[in-house]
């Protein structure tokens, strides 16, 4: 059971959170100017790296705030969390589990 550091509530058990997929995928300013291929790319394509990945999470069982996290997809380790609108923290390399 991961311990996730909510930017507002501090470390809480994983079961209080829900996953929101890749972070920093911006909703197009004006979807109507995109052609089908461009819109399809926004709609259907996401990164799936092995390693550090910026993700959106919501503390649904707590403050109900969305936030971003850098998580290693191979080790599950959360390297840092940051509130919406904040800049991503600098992450040092390491493979702690």
């Amino acid at each position: 059971m991961l311990l996730i550091d909510c930017p507002h509530c501090g470390p809480r058990d994983e079961i209080e959170f829900s996953y929101g997929g890749e972070a920093h995928v911006v909703y197009p300013e004006d979807p109507s100017v995109l052609n089908d291929a461009e819109w399809g790319r926004y709609l259907f394509y996401r990164e799936n790296p092995k390693g550090d990945f910026a993700e959106r999470w919501i503390h649904s069982g707590g403050c109900r705030k969305w936030f971003n996290a850098i998580r290693n997809t191979a080790t599950y380790e959360f390297k840092g969390t940051y509130a919406m609108g904040e800049k991503a923290p600098t992450i040092k390399e390491g493979d702690a589990k």
Binding site: H8, C9, G10, D13, I15, E16, G61, G62, C63, R64, K65
Partner: protein
Amino acid sequence: MAENPTTLHTPEPPAVPLDEHRLTPAAHLAGDMEAATVTGARSVSLRELQFPLQIGLRGEIGSESAQLIEKELGFELPSRVGQVTGDPMGLHVLWLSPDDFLAVDVSTRQQPGDSDRYIDALAGKPGHAVELSANRTVLELVGAAARDVLAKSCHADLHPREFGVNTAITTNLGKVPIYLHRAGEDVWRIYPRQSFADFTVRWLLDGMKEFAQDEVL
């Protein structure tokens, strides 16, 4: 412990008009709660508070809206997780998120229109004040064994070092989402939503049973 632990519960405010037309969500279990009271060194008892006023207050801490609400409250909104401001035996406010708070007055029974002055105070500014007295019920678990009863299904760290008197958080009791407020040394208020009240009470009563027995480690 010589004193009857039930006296440690929050005192009951007097009845108000319209009370005869309303029921708390766990009213049908009042007798079961009474019968389940455990006295002695491992005391624990459960009771449902009667219609305490609950108002959802919304506004970013530090914003003009928050200040307008604070002026109406007469004290500051809590500004960090776990914090409770005001009087835990009277009007107080629980922190739910940086812009979400629950005002609770356990010294009075809610009456229609009680929340109006807060929405009026906002005067069109961002935020909100929402009547939520019927949204959740307030259960009060009291006694030396109360923390142990909670630990049987609450994953939060309730040890006194981490969860002092007058701390409140959003958490779970098993599968039930709740607010949990430690209102006194051995006084824990549990806020399940209305629809979960029946289950939550039965769940807690089940968890209390063992404390009436000789202790098994």
